[in-house]
């Protein structure tokens, strides 16, 4: 059933009013509610209860929607699949919904560095993933698939009001990316730029890592008349379907075994593509293939896998946190695993033995994850990242995942790992992260972003309980993760290409973040993936002042967790400072929603 409640017309000048939203949810009750909520935001809403229909709609009229909100638990098609498709084929933001997640939902931004070549497409999608159970694995899956954000059901109006930011951000990037194919210089610029950022405007700082090269740059020119291209001079390759196909064709022609970036480049005959671009893409492609190969094994080996035996490099990783990744049956056998990445990236993490005040979230070694994915799990407060490699049946993790030629430690990676701290098996009272889109990422924050949005995920309530107690310790966790991430990140910023690459791979989850810095060095990573800009985690904060992440109970109790630079406080207050600082009141707080909404509008007035 497709109910078209609006017409597809270009957005009006009253943006975000008129934002064309496509909502996909098999639950008729939710569909109706969401529709009403979105209409209250003055968006143009189209509802759809079947993922397939949604895809059809999207395909038929590619420019008809600005953003897609999709449930991930749908009978006919896994929401993640929808995500993939949307990401692959269209350049749309997608928000996935999870309901009743006890996970602190932070926006997962689709990293421009997707792990698989396919997921690169998703880079352009703002996908917020809404999960019903907030199970970590689902959330992570969302991330992997390119969710730019995820929302937990029950969804609040506030969260919906903020979705336009994803679209807006994207537009900004498009403008910026217009091209400069400066290449490496841009990398350096980005790197130094990001380090200087403190409070750059969210606009300015976002896409510091690299500009994008668009394959169809010409075709897309018209899209980018949105404003003056900012000073970004990064060139980043957007691996569109076409480009990727050329790539694959070239690879096949040469012969997978004999393939090399230079050869591929020559065969592809794409003038603006550099050897570095190809090299990093090849890297990802290899990972993707090996993962595909092992998918069968993975399924078997995934069952009931719970271990944490991969010792983190850093001994502190064992700081009492036992984090095992539990790849449960449904994780694996879930039909939604079309993406090999899912296996690894969406582990169900069984949090064991953690009690409330865990110092570091992190993760215990997550091991036995099959898949060429290497994740570094940093111990709670260590300055260095410890890397936990998943044992893959795929062969040595290091060789594959880690981005092979790259050095093992990868900051970005483990930050990602921190996500799975969430206990997925337990049903928790929904922890509502009412932090909408939080703030638009500021340049300076880029490499901080990661922890932000990771954290919510991680800081899920420590213990399972169906009561409405929640995440008291989340604040701490968040903080430690954040710090951890930050320090690691900073540390890695001077690393080599290898690091950058791996970051990029990981960035599927993180979106640029740290990669920006590390990628600076790499010669070719940048072009591919990172975009800080695409970040809009719920709990991103501007980097200026503290951000409070509010975790709200349905009943309205709130825990405000400060994910800001200042560290975390788990307090029940709203930080008014944030409100005033934020140009867009992305931050959700118990203030009158119309207040910030109005101001949001004011920006566009």
């Amino acid at each position: 059933m497709v109910v078209e409640t609006g017409f597809s017309s270009p957005r009006t000048d009253a943006f975000p009013a008129g934002l064309r939203v496509l909502v996909v949810d098999d639950d008729p009750t939710w569909l109706k509610i969401l529709e009403k909520m979105l209409k209250k935001c003055f968006y143009e809403v189209t509802t759809c209860c079947l993922a397939r229909e949604a895809l059809n709609l999207l395909r038929q009229r590619k420019d008809s929607y600005d953003i897609v909100i999709s449930d991930v638990n749908m009978p006919d098609m896994d929401g993640f699949k929808l995500l993939e498709h949307v990401g692959l084929e269209m350049d749309l933001p997608v928000i996935s919904q999870f309901s009743m997640a006890n996970v602190v939902c932070s926006a997962f931004f689709y990293s421009s560095n997707s792990i698989e070549p396919l997921s690169h497409k998703l880079r352009l999608c703002n996908v917020a993933v809404m999960s019903v159970d907030g199970e970590t694995r689902r959330v992570m899956k969302g991330v992997q698939h390119g969710a730019c954000d995820y929302l937990l059901k029950p969804i609040r109006m506030k969260e919906l009001r903020n979705i336009w930011q994803h679209v807006f951000r994207k537009k900004i990037h498009e403008v910026r990316d217009i091209e400069s194919m400066e290449g490496i210089e841009s990398i350096h610029m980005a790197r130094s730029g990001s380090e200087l950022f403190d409070d750059g405007s969210f606009l300015g700082g976002e896409d510091t890592t690299s500009g994008r090269k668009r394959k169809d740059a010409d075709n897309k020119r018209d899209d980018k008349d949105l404003g003056d291209p900012s000073s970004t001079k990064k060139a980043r390759v957007v691996w569109t379907v076409d480009l990727h196909q050329k790539f694959v064709k070239a690879v096949n022609q040469i012969g997978y075994d004999k393939v090399g970036p230079k050869k591929i480049l020559d065969l592809m005959n794409v003038p603006w593509l550099t050897r570095e671009n190809v090299a990093s893409h090849l890297q990802k492609y290899r990972l993707y293939l090996s993962r595909l190969q092992k998918e069968g094994d993975v399924k078997n080996s995934f069952m009931g896998m719970k271990h944490s035996d991969t010792p983190p490099k850093d001994s502190t990783a064992g700081s009492g946190l036992r984090n095992s990744i539990n790849l449960t049956q449904d994780n694996v056998s879930n039909g939604s695993f079309s993406f090999p990445v899912n296996h690894t990236l969406a582990p169900s993490v069984d949090l064991k033995g953690h009690e409330g005040d865990r110092k570091g979230i992190t993760s215990g070694p997550m091991t036995e994850l099959k898949g060429p994915f290497s994740i570094d799990i940093s111990g709670p407060r260590k300055a260095k990242s410890s890397k936990i490699s998943f044992d893959h049946s795929l062969g040595s993790v290091d060789s594959v995942v880690n981005f092979a030629s790259f050095g093992p430690t990868d900051t970005a990676q483990y930050s990602w790992n921190e996500i799975p701290e969430i206990q997925f098996k337990q049903e928790y009272e929904p922890l509502q992260l009412e932090n909408g889109f939080s703030q638009l990422p500021l340049p300076g924050l880029q490499h901080h972003m990661l922890p932000e949005y990771l954290q919510p995920a991680v800081s899920v309530s420590p213990g399972p309980s169906i009561t409405e107690k929640e995440a008291t310790s989340s604040g701490f966790e968040v903080k430690s993760m954040y710090d951890e991430y930050r320090s690691n990140h900073a540390k890695h910023s001077s690393q080599t290409e290898a690091v950058g690459e791996s970051h990029s791979l990981n960035n599927q989850v993180f979106k640029s973040i740290s990669t920006t810095t590390s990628s600076m060095k790499s010669q070719d990573t940048i072009p591919n993936h990172l975009t800080v800009s695409e970040f809009s985690p719920k709990n991103l904060y501007e980097g200026v002042g503290a951000e409070d992440l509010q975790l709200c109970w349905p009943q309205g109790d709130c825990y405000a967790t400060n994910f800001g630079l200042q560290g975390l406080d788990c307090t029940e207050h709203n930080n008014p400072a944030i409100v005033s600082e934020t140009p867009f009141h992305l931050y959700d707080h118990p203030f009158d929603p119309t207040e910030y909404y109005a101001s949001d509008q004011g920006l566009f007035a």
């Binding site: 509610i33 019903v132 029950p154 609040r156 449904d330």
Partner: protein
């Protein structure tokens, strides 16, 4: 005369809603729902409730069916419960949602007896919330009618 009737009805309505909250039958999400109703959509809450009930009953029927199987298909069961849980959360049917959680756990443990017990809770909670909501909707309609007559 109508004023008094209306006032009385409103009090009744208020008390009913309050009791539902107090007992945990409903949670804050229901407030959100009520807030969404406006003049452009004056029957919004009622419509949503109707949708919910429809869907919930369908799912409960399925659950019942699966549970009565010789070999219970727990994953199917889980999937349905999951759906019901989602729906419950949409209108704020808190206790029903909790009952779903219980069933999910029992299902994960593959414990048929526990599942049966949990399912009964679901059914019970569903009927409780449904009947109270029905009363609430009747009160609403009544109030609106009286007000329109003014």
């Amino acid at each position: 005369m109508n004023h008094m009737a209306i006032a009385a009805l409103k009090t009744q309505r208020r008390n009913l809603v309050q009791s539902m909250f107090d007992e945990g039958v409903l949670d804050n999400q229901f407030n959100q729902l009520q807030d969404l109703q406006d003049s452009s959509n004056p029957n919004f809450v009622e419509e949503v409730i109707a949708l919910f009930c429809n869907d919930a009953e369908r799912i409960i029927t399925e659950l019942n069916r699966y549970l009565n199987d010789q070999n219970v298909d727990f994953s199917k069961l889980d999937s349905y419960v999951h759906q019901l849980k989602g729906s419950s959360s949409s209108i704020g049917a808190y206790r029903l949602k909790l009952a779903c959680v219980n069933l999910r756990q029992a299902s994960e443990e593959r414990n048929k007896e526990e599942c049966a017990g949990a399912f009964n809770s679901i059914r019970r909670e569903y009927y409780v919330v449904r009947s109270k909501l029905q009363v609430l909707m009747q009160l609403e309609r009544h109030i609106v009618n009286l007000e329109n007559q003014q």
